[in-house]
């Protein structure tokens, strides 16, 4: 629902970085998106194709690396992947957990020429 602004940022960051590297074309942008972040890759791709038109990033491939949600039990420190919506520790049954991974949203790297 809010991917347009996010995609504008992706286009801006990649054009800036490509400019710094004196690149003529952006071939590929590698993005890291956590499973818990509310961003939909298909939606980002759709906006990207529109926003990158007539820039050196036009036609670039967006590659999304999804980071699974991992939680850490505050009771026994076990790190685990939650099963469906129940966020309880498989080791001790504790229900007090913190998010360890899964909220990422960043550009990891780019390929340019």
């Amino acid at each position: 629902m809010h991917e347009l602004g996010v995609t504008e940022n992706i286009v801006n960051i990649s054009l800036t970085k490509a400019g710094e590297a004196q690149a003529k074309k952006v071939i590929r942008i590698n993005l890291v998106v956590g499973e818990l972040s509310g961003f939909v890759p298909d939606c980002i791709q759709f906006y990207f194709d529109f926003l990158s038109k007539d820039t050196i990033a036009q036609g670039a491939v967006l590659h999304f690396e999804s980071v699974p949600a991992q939680l850490r039990c505050r009771n026994c420190s076990m790190i685990f992947q939650p099963q469906d919506t129940l966020w309880s520790c498989p080791e001790c049954g504790g229900q007090s957990v913190e998010i360890f991974t899964g909220r990422e949203l960043y550009i990891e790297s780019m390929e340019v020429e």
């Binding site: 629902m1 809010h2 229900q95 007090s96 913190e98 790297s109 390929e111």
Partner: protein, 224 residues
């Protein structure tokens, strides 16, 4: 072909504006609370109750975020020191307030005459969790008719909350809402969140909530 390392947070632009907003607020000794909930959980009613209860103690301004209309701004107009309505319908994103929208709203506010800004976010439990506005505290309201499973279904917004309000407590005899289960979910996700049970309709519990606000404002800006 050449590979460039980037490692740059895509939400950085929003974060940068949010941090500028907070600096501006701090400079003017203004405390800001971001109030988030699903549509209809009672954000506006709670703001009205809060305005009435804290009248004479704090100068309070309100920023109203809605997809469309000025209905909410009109409701709070007479009680607030200043009101700015943001309509997100014509913005690139309509599902949440974002730091840049708050930045423009702050330009229209007499910050030196304000102690507290209550920011009413767009009714939504998903998107507002991702966008820092520059607020000092984040509050999430859940109301009894929504059911006690919201922290399980929408964990992110609760994970970052400083306070969680259980609203519409007057409906408890009529709905199946397990208060203990809801509290357990919140404590599990976010043990530092304060939990308030209240009813904006009957005013039950409003005092404790207002006391918490006074305490936060006093601790943060050292004035009242």
């Amino acid at each position: 072909m050449k590979k460039i390392e980037v490692i740059q947070n895509i939400l950085e632009a929003n974060e940068a504006i949010a941090s500028r907003n907070q600096q501006l607020l701090d400079k003017h000794k203004v405390f800001a609370i971001n109030i988030m909930s699903a549509p209809g959980a009672g954000k506006t009613s709670l703001i009205l109750q809060t305005l009435t209860r804290l009248k004479g103690m704090l100068n309070i301004a309100v920023i109203e975020g809605d997809v469309a209309s000025t209905v909410d701004a009109e409701k709070v107009q007479s009680e607030a020191k200043a009101v700015v309505q943001i309509n997100t319908r014509n913005m690139p994103e309509s599902c949440s307030l974002m730091a840049a929208m708050i930045e423009s709203a702050l330009k229209d506010m007499p910050l030196d005459n304000i102690d507290l800004i209550l920011i009413e976010n767009v009714g939504n439990l998903i998107c507002p969790a991702e966008f820092n506005l520059g607020e000092h505290k984040r509050v999430v309201i859940s109301s009894l008719p929504e059911g006690d499973d919201k922290p399980i279904k929408y964990p992110l917004i609760f994970v970052d909350a400083d306070a969680v309000i259980i609203n519409k407590m007057d409906l408890l005899p009529h709905v199946d809402f397990d208060i203990a289960a809801f509290r357990r979910s919140i404590v599990g996700l976010n043990p530092r969140a304060e939990i308030f049970e209240l009813s904006s309709k009957t005013s039950e519990g409003i005092e404790r909530w207002c006391f918490w606000i006074l305490e936060q404002v006093e601790t943060h800006v050292g004035k009242r």
